[in-house]
């Protein structure tokens, strides 16, 4: 189970520059330092406010733009439980799975407000809004993807199984 954690709410088309700007990604290689700038353009003190286990909830097309894997990495480094969005941009989605950051597609994100407390379970396929006492269904992940995610990402998968998922 993921969470419980507080919701930080964002809008549509949150691009990877907003998750971590190029000027930081292309000058800082230390993940601790880089993570301090996560979501900075949209919420300047995000990295200070966010706590372990919190959720990011957003609209459609989360993670559009560049292929930078630093985007999901900084969110994982800040110990975000999961990103829940109406939809994801494809490279961000694959990157998140490959580094073990849970990504959840949910049609009901409009019902979730900033500050709500959530729990989520990818295997059982739901997001629970503890604050509003509501439960939302999520789009199930294909089994191949769920397997990589549950192992904690592609590197951990390879270390455990001694092969790539497609080998």
């Amino acid at each position: 189970m993921l969470g419980p954690g507080k919701v930080w709410k964002f809008g549509d088309d949150v691009n990877t520059d907003y998750i971590i700007a190029g000027k930081y990604k292309l000058s800082i290689t230390d993940l601790d330092e880089l993570s301090r700038h996560a979501m900075e353009t949209l919420m300047p003190d995000f990295s200070k406010k966010v706590k372990k286990g919190d959720f990011i909830v957003a609209g459609r097309n989360f993670g559009c733009g560049s292929s930078r894997e630093q985007a999901p990495l900084v969110l994982k480094h800040l110990e975000i439980s999961a990103v829940i969005a109406k939809s994801f941009a494809r490279i961000f989605y694959r990157n998140a799975v490959n580094i073990g950051l849970p990504v959840i597609e949910c049609a009901d994100v409009d019902k979730i407000e900033e500050g709500d407390i959530l729990e989520a379970d990818i295997q059982r396929g739901y997001v629970k809004n503890v604050t509003k006492m509501e439960t939302y269904r999520i789009k199930p992940l294909p089994s191949e993807i769920q397997e990589i995610l549950l192992e904690g990402g592609l590197v951990k998968y390879v270390k455990k199984h001694g092969r790539l998922p497609w080998q």
């Binding site: 088309d13 290689t29 230390d30 292929s67 630093q70 494809r90 694959r94 497609w166 080998q167």
Partner: protein, 420 residues
């Protein structure tokens, strides 16, 4: 049932009779990684116990995002890349070679009908040569370096039919901006966009590359154009021998079909702070500018530099406006020197920078101050992309950028029709 080019390429590369929606494991024909991601790729490769590259001749390692390095942290990344490339005998492109996508186009690694991946979202550019090319992340790149294979969901395809003759001072960049403004940033997520029609056929390869380059701005997995005579001749000139691409079948299934008649298209501009916020240039004319950037994997090729030079010739940039010109590759730079374009830029007062990404990604060579406004021929204008979150970025064609540099304000290039 008929197939699209993407379905045919992924069927061929996977050995399966694949259609949109199927998940296949495809053979990779070439892979590219750059300094923006290299450290993560190399670390993941090592963590996965990687010993050798699956095929060093198919791997390109490029220093272009922070080139030359502006920070000690990135000098270390570059050092790591050199050691990795030399140890594994990969194709290595040193500082000053160019922007990765232009180098891939020139490298001979991108074949029509092939599958190419790169650790950069604009890898979709190579679809102009009839390849299935897409951006991936660094962990997946490490997996490709190990295995030469990757899983793909075969994408549905949106057919974008472009018809009509482009009016004077309207260019492929204006066409793709119009399309992005129509389809929107989320409109093609997970899909391939196939460009067809007489306008596409009439474009040179450089123009076609501008179209496919920006398909990721609509969320697309790739942009693709079937091989035609112009592309064939382009590849022949690059030294390709066997040139054989795929074409979509008449009865192939498309998820959507959108037609654009460009015969009355006006110069287009993408306004802050989203690429799909597209207007006609005339709607925002007169806004003062501080910086002009001509370059990038979208519009840094010889064709683009010629367009800008035609307008700049014999003139000087407006006082207070700095103009940065970054040829997309050393080859482009050299040809621009031979043609006298660089002389025109120097006379105009441009800072002609070494080939590479230039200021596009906000790393160096043109960071914007708060309150500044930049007109750029690149592909993204997100807030803070090129520096301060209080700066503004407008995206336009090389003609619009050059015209704006002359006047010092956002300017419709049709004011310079006699130069065109």
């Amino acid at each position: 049932m008929g197939k699209t080019i993407s379905e045919k390429i992924l069927s061929h590369a996977s050995g399966k009779d694949a259609y949109a929606g199927d998940i296949v494991v495809a053979r990779i024909d070439a892979a590219m990684m750059h300094d923006g991601m290299a450290q993560l790729v190399i670390n993941a490769f090592r963590e996965m116990d990687g010993k050798t590259l699956w095929d060093p001749n198919r791997v390109a390692i490029v220093i272009d995002h922070v080139a030359p390095s502006a920070y000690e942290a990135f000098s270390k990344v570059h050092k790591m890349m050199r050691m990795f490339a030399f140890k594994h005998n990969a194709k290595f492109y040193e500082v000053g070679s160019g922007v990765c996508h232009q180098l891939m186009i020139e490298s001979g690694l991108v074949h029509p009908g092939g599958v190419v991946v790169g650790s950069d979202s604009h890898t979709c550019t190579y679809g102009a040569l009839g390849a299935f090319a897409t951006g991936i992340g660094s962990t997946e790149m490490a997996a490709v370096l190990l295995s030469g294979k990757l899983w793909f969901k075969v994408p549905e395809t949106i057919k974008v039919l472009i018809e009509g003759r482009l009016p004077p001072m309207v260019f492929p960049k204006d066409v793709i901006l119009k399309i992005v403004g129509t389809i929107k940033a989320y409109g093609a997520t997970y899909k391939a966009i196939e460009f067809k029609g007489s306008t596409v056929k009439s474009m040179n390869v450089e123009g076609k590359l501008t179209l496919t380059n920006m398909t990721v701005e609509m969320g697309a997995k790739t942009g693709i154009i079937e091989l035609d005579e112009k592309t064939y001749a382009f590849l022949k000139a690059l030294g390709y021998r066997e040139i054989k691409g795929f074409t979509s079948d008449e009865d192939a299934e498309y998820s959507d079909s959108i037609k654009f008649d460009v015969s009355d298209l006006e110069p287009q501009i993408s306004c802050p702070h989203a690429v799909d916020n597209v207007k006609a240039v005339k709607e925002v004319e007169g806004k003062k500018i501080d910086q002009v950037f001509i370059g990038s994997c979208t519009n840094g090729r010889l064709y683009d530099l010629r367009i800008a030079a035609k307008i700049m010739k014999g003139k000087h940039a407006k006082k207070g406006v700095r103009v940065i010109v970054t040829p997309a590759s050393r080859k482009v730079y050299r040809e621009a020197v031979k043609e006298g374009l660089i002389d025109i830029f120097l006379d105009f007062g441009c800072a002609v920078c070494n080939p590479g990404c230039g200021p596009c990604a906000g790393a160096h060579q043109g960071i914007l101050a708060p309150g500044e406004r930049c007109i750029s021929t690149s592909n993204r204008n997100f807030k803070a992309r090129m520096g301060s979150p209080e700066a503004e970025i407008y995206l336009a064609s090389p003609a619009t950028a050059a015209a704006s540099a002359v006047i010092g304000e956002i300017t419709d290039p049709r004011r310079f029709l006699k130069e065109g």
